[in-house]
């Protein structure tokens, strides 16, 4: 994967497949610790202990058409290649929680990528799910919650193309104010 937002898209697809109705994403950048953390948690069907332990193996998947599942192993590889770490916790019928850490200054850290694009695309595709995005850095915090947007929208679907456009721009501004300058790919 070329950037972190692509991994995020991939993990969110896993949550959707796990019939999640709530997906929460937290991006924290700490320049003192030189650490970028991405956390994605859902309330989907979860996995049993045995499966969680082997899910980072590329030859493990729930799919029946093929024997490989590369989403989680590749996310883990990207984090570890950037001097980071990867943790996954899951509880049957509770949900799954994935945490990936990246060393910000590591030369092998892939860029964050277009997170606003990821969010707007999953929202238009599955507007029935509720999404939360929290951005935190030493500079600023930003909160995005589809439920707050729905309160304003009453009677209008969140998947309306103009609403999606607003959402994308809103998140872009949030990314700039929190992560601009903290990650050197964001001005």
């Amino acid at each position: 994967m070329r950037d972190i937002s692509m991994h995020m898209m991939d993990i969110i697809q896993n949550s959707i497949t796990a019939s999640a109705t709530k997906i929460e994403i937290l991006i924290t950048a700490n320049s003192k610790k030189d650490l970028l953390e991405i956390r994605i948690s859902d309330n989907g069907c979860g996995m049993n202990k045995d499966f969680v332990n082997k899910v980072t193996d590329p030859f493990v998947t729930t799919r029946t058409i093929r024997k490989v599942g590369l989403g989680i192993p590749m996310f883990r590889e990207s984090a570890i290649a950037a001097g980071g770490y990867f943790r996954i916790n899951s509880e049957i019928s509770e949900g799954t929680d994935i945490l990936a850490g990246f060393k910000i200054s590591n030369i092998d850290r892939i860029p964050l990528g277009d997170v606003a694009e990821t969010l707007s695309e999953v929202i238009i595709s599955r507007p029935d799910i509720s999404y939360k995005l929290d951005l935190k850095s030493d500079k600023d915090v930003f909160e995005f919650d589809t439920e707050k947007i729905r309160e304003v929208l009453q009677g209008v679907s969140i998947s309306e193309i103009d609403v999606i456009g607003w959402i994308k721009e809103n998140i872009e501004e949030g990314l700039k104010s929190t992560l601009g300058g903290v990650l050197n790919e964001i001005a």
Binding site: M6, D10, Q13, I65, G71, E121, D162, G165
Partner: protein
Amino acid sequence: MKSLDELEKIRNKTLDNMSLRSKDKTMRIIVGMATCGIAAGAKPVMNSLLEELRRRNITNVSVTMTGCIGVCRLEPIVEVIDPSGLKVTYVKMTAEKAARVVAEHIVNGRICLDLTIGEAEKE
């Protein structure tokens, strides 16, 4: 900063226009968004579709994602399904090709034959 007031304006505008437009979605666009599709660049392709629809003010086309379609080597894959159920499968898509599909296929009803799976598999 994008304000909630602005969002409310969008809401009111959408409600006003709602009565003017037909309720049925005429076409469906499906983007393959599994690991294979994402790695091949499906995300900017879908973004380009959405931007193009928004720019042209097309509201009766739905855009959704699906998992792996099964021909990973031809990703990113975009399927366009018309109201009669006829499906056209576009392969090896890029953001530029996606904008072309909106202009030619969605707006003007002319299938971009050179981008279809049939054409790609001839080689």
